[in-house]
Structures are given as C-alpha cells and as structure tokens.
Symmetry: C2
Subunit: 353 residues, 2 copies
C-alpha cells in the first residue's frame, strides 16, 4: 500500500534496523569502576559523593555518550515530564502560536508536549485522552477555537491537573483567555482619541461570548447612539454591513470597529468601492491581527493582537506549577491584548497608503 506512488524496485526499500544498544548507567558505572548507585548519585549531584569520583563519572558518562533513559526515570519518579494538549483547531491559526508558547515555557524544564487534534470528534478526543493517561502525562491542556466551547465531559474528572487555554473552564479550574473587554476598550478608545464621533461596531454572531463581551464594552464607551451590527465572521458580511450603513439617509459613521480582521477587510473593500476614503473619511479597526489578512488590506489594518504566544507561555508556566503541586490561582485569568497600529486608523507616522 505504501508503494502506491512509487515504481521503485524492491531493493530500493529502506527498512530501518535499530543500531547498537544505547549506553546505560551500568556502562557508565563499570567504565568508571564504581557501582550503579554511585554513578547515579554522581550524575544527579545527589547525596555525598567525593568530588573526584563525581567528576570522573561525569566525564566518562559524557565520553561514552550516556544519556539517561527518561522512561526508566519516569517509572520510578512517577513524573513523565510530558503534557498533552487537546485541540479542536483544524487550521492551526490559534493553536500553533499558543502551543509554541507552551512549548517554550516547558522546554527548559525538559517537559514535552503531545499534540492531540480532535477535529471536534468525541471519539478522537476519547482515544487521545486514553493514550495520554496511559502514557502518564503529568498534566493536560485543553484549548479550543472559541472561549465558550464546552470541554468534552471526559475532562471533568481527571487524576491530573488541567489548564484551559483560550477556553473558559469551570470556576475551580485554571483558565487563560484573551481579555476581550480590554481589547475592545483598546480599539474603541483609540478610535475616540482620533476624534471620531460616530463609531459603529460590525461583528460576528451574538452566540459567541467574546462577541457579546466586546459589544458590551463598545456600548459602554460609545453610549446612546451605539450601533452594533451582528453577522457572520466573513468579509462578505463586512461588505454587506457597509451597504446597510451607507445606503440609508441617516448620518454616516466616521469609524468602524470590527469584530475580526476578516470582517474588517470586507468593510475596507466595500468602503473603497464606494469611494469612501480610509482612514480620512472612515477609520477602521480589526480584531485578531491575523497577518495574512491584516497586513494585506488596503490600507493595512490597525487591529487588536490577542498575544497568543504569550498566553501559551502563561499556560505552560501554570501547568508546570500544578504538576509540581505548587499553588496556582484558579479561575479565569484574562491576558491583555495589544494594539497594533497600521494605516487603516491613520495613526502611524508612515505615509498613508
């Protein structure tokens, strides 16, 4: 079956034969003329070993290329130095930056990360979870493409610590999410500081918790004439919203705060189509800083960055602490978003587009 795309002859086959056995601590011990326990002590800098033997053992270990077998170590220490991360993200846009952050936080501690893409399939989730537990992972990270996606019930009662990333877990769990309200405030404040008087909000579906949170901050800041248009997470909806806003007779907005970069791109395109200038006539802000979108709009998009890698790093630190039975404040921690200024809000020193 693996030959499907190959017309190679049979002797072009490459079957891997395991090389020589790895060096064990016994090899080190005998080469150094000490017992295994002394070798172990010396290598781990534990207990009382004479400086000379300590150095000799270490030198020899290095010479013969000894590396301790983490499996054997874990078996006795009951710590595998691995964690699992369960994700339903198919495209990796959210998961990979976060995982990179997690991984960076854990790497220096020698902890590795099992990535488990569930594709939203409960069967896959269960299988992954079983494999992880059998492999004695020290902890688990649950992450999702939206903060209000309910975690699979199997996560409810685990013998290991769990941290939620980009997901709001139960109150007695540890969760990290972007601070949508702070992010929204950043965006709206920025538009208002620009002197814009009629800021509208074009956003995604109201059943998203993040959408409701951002909209509520927006309303609180703008007040009476706050105008929230809810639709899909698409460019098309962004364009449609512009039609709605500019078709009627009423006063036109001079700023649009969008719920995503994709919506913002639709808004910008539709404005240009109508001959409305961005940012001089209308300033536009996005949300996500998904660079394939935000860098490519004309003009480039000012937006809110959720700092996913930093979030991942915090998640990594938290799971690390929990695995060591160190106390970690539970509940939901909201991580600050940052303002990314490009041309669509007219707030950079660079020449406008």
């Amino acid at each position: 079956m693996l030959k499907g795309f190959s017309t190679q002859a049979a002797d072009d086959m490459n079957s891997f034969d395991d090389g020589p056995r790895r060096q064990t601590i016994r090899d080190v011990a005998s080469a150094a003329g000490v017992s295994v326990s002394t070798a172990s002590n010396a290598l781990n800098d534990i207990g009382r070993t004479s400086p000379e033997t300590r150095e000799r053992v270490r030198r020899i270990a290095k010479e013969i290329g000894f590396r301790p077998n983490a499996l054997a170590r874990s078996l006795v220490s009951r710590r595998s130095h691995t964690v699992g991360i369960l994700t339903n993200d198919t495209y990796g846009r959210l998961t990979l930056p976060m995982t990179a952050g997690v991984s960076e936080a854990l790497l220096d501690e020698g902890v590795s990360v099992f990535l488990c893409p569930t594709n939203n399939d409960p069967r896959l989730a269960r299988l992954h979870l079983e494999a992880l537990l059998d492999k004695q992972v020290d902890g688990l990270i649950f992450t999702a493409t939206r903060i209000d996606l309910p975690p699979p019930p199997a996560l409810a009662d685990l013998p290991i610590p769990v941290v939620h990333a980009f997901s709001e877990g139960p109150a007695d769990r540890v969760s990290f999410v972007p601070d949508d309200e702070q992010g929204a405030r950043l965006a709206v404040d920025h538009l208002m500081a620009l002197g814009r008087k009629r800021v509208v909000h074009v956003t995604g579906p109201m059943d998203y918790l993040a959408v409701r949170r951002r909209a509520s901050v927006y309303r609180g800041l703008i007040g009476a004439n706050a105008d929230v248009l809810s639709g899909e997470w698409t460019e098309e909806w962004g364009r449609e919203a512009v039609e709605k806003l500019f078709a009627g007779p009423g006063a036109k907005p001079d700023a649009v705060f969008c719920g995503s970069d994709e919506i913002a791109r639709g808004v910008i395109d539709a404005l240009r189509d109508r001959g409305v200038r961005v940012p001089s006539d209308v300033a536009v802000m996005g949300f996500d800083n998904w660079e394939v979108v935000s860098r490519q709009t004309r003009p480039p998009l000012s937006t809110i960055d959720m700092e996913l890698k930093a979030l991942g790093r915090r998640v990594g630190e938290a799971i690390l602490a929990l695995c060591r039975s160190e106390p970690v404040p539970f509940g939901i921690t909201r991580m600050p978003c940052s303002l990314v200024l490009r041309h669509s809000s007219g707030a950079t020193k660079d020449a406008p587009y």
Copy 2:
C-alpha cells in the same frame, strides 16, 4: 509571578494533589486470585490461558479500572509508541493540517505525537531533539515551510527512523512532498481547456524550488510565448504584476496562473480595479487553497489544494512501518494535488459572482 493578573486571596489557590495510586497489574492479579504473569497473559491474549480465567481477569481489570502503564510497558518492549515532529512553522498553516493527518494515522495504533516548534532556532531544535531521544521516541518527522529548507545537521545521524514531510530529505531517506509539477499541470491544463490562449504565470521568488518546478511545467505546456513573472509571495506583488502586464501596449493575457493564493488575490483585486472582468476577460488560478484567502476573493478563487492532511496521513503510515522495521520505499514521494474550482476560472455551474 503567576499572580500578576490576579487579585485573588491566597485561599483561592488550587494546588493539585495527586489522587489515589493507579491500579496496577498486581491489583488485578490479586483481585482475580492469579499471578501477575497469568494476568498479563490474559490481558494481552498471549500464550495459553483458559478461557474462563482469561475472561475473569479481563472482567475484573475492567471493574477496577485497570489501565496498563505505558511507561513500564515501553521499558521492557523498547517501543515507546511515540514519535516527534519537528517544525519551523510559526502560524501552523502547513503544520497543523499535516499533523492532524499524521495523528489520525497513528492514533489507532496507540502512537502519540510530540510537537516541537523550533521557530527556526537551532538551539531550540537541539533541545527538542535531545528531549525526544531521551524519551525514546520510536521515530521522528521533520517538516518545514518550504520543501527545500535544509534540515538541521543534527538530523543527519540518528538512531531512529526519520521521515521528511513537506521537505525533501536526502536520497536514502523517506520524504513526502506535494507534487508541484502535477499541481501546476492541473492548473495550466484547466486554463487551456477553457480555451484561453494567453496564459501568464505570476509567481514567488525563484530561489524556491517549488517555484522553479511549477514554472518549468508551465513553460513546457504553454511553449514559446510563456511569460513568467517572479516576485514576492504577497498580494502587493500580484497587483504590481497586473500593472506590468496591462500597462504596456502588447497583447493582454486572458488567464493568469498564480504561484499562491495571496498573489492571486492581488491579481484579482488589481484586475477589478482596472475594470477587467474575472473570469470572462481573464481567468485566474491560485495555488494553496488557503481558505481564508481563496474563499474570500471576488470572485472566489479556483486553486490547487496540496492535500496536506492526506500527505500527513501517508507520512504517519510511513513512520509507523519504519518503526516496525517494515520496508518502505525510500526517496521522495510526490503526493497528488487536487483542483478546486470556484468562480475565478469560470468553471463552476454556480452563478458567477
């Protein structure tokens, strides 16, 4: 330090205390009134066990919730049922779909995947590699954001099998890459079948192997008046290329085959800006099927899908076979791309945009 964003009192701390010890095979054995080896035999369906005891042991194992400790198992079997995947992809666009494919292929075999994002940093790569080897991974997958990225030298001489994914490894290794030539042929054939007479190619930097391959197929198919414009992987370059093509006096193209969806998006936008209709005046094809781009152009973009998940699945099957010392044809296997028809090539039955 973990309290940075929290104002909670100290008793809101959540330090995880490990629950009761997991059930071991000894627990099963004694509960079933047999020896551990009999329990082991019964559970693994090995050797000669009377059907009654076999069932009894299994029933009891299930009742007390016994799950074998994979670490202990691996220690004796010398197979950890884990593989590592080394990636330099920051955004996850290529890596995550592939990893999902890999993971699906391995899940049913109980093999889990360590994800190691190297961020193109040799130090990170080395640390990850050491951690993986210490953890006795059975195999390694190397993947990159371009097929001609040289793998880190540390990969040269490993005691475990290595498979390259979206990366062309040395001739004595196993590599899987998308078939750029077949993909390019798919695109150009399609445009020619539409009856287009002047097809040009707007693509990325020539130092990319994939770019040269696709361009060469394009030239072979189009012949004498083949016109290759090489630039950046950006929308801006796509727009610029359109200026170049339409500014002069010469004959105008009636089709553009683009090296990426982003370039194609720039091309489409610039054509619309000039009042050139897509696809009636000029048909446009992209490459990548990166949906955030290809679904959002106006009209939606016909493009080439590299079938990354399928590629990942094949990579998974290959590493699985190698880990079992089964023969696998080595060398580079090119996986077929597929044609995705949307409106920009005017070849769908749906109403044009």
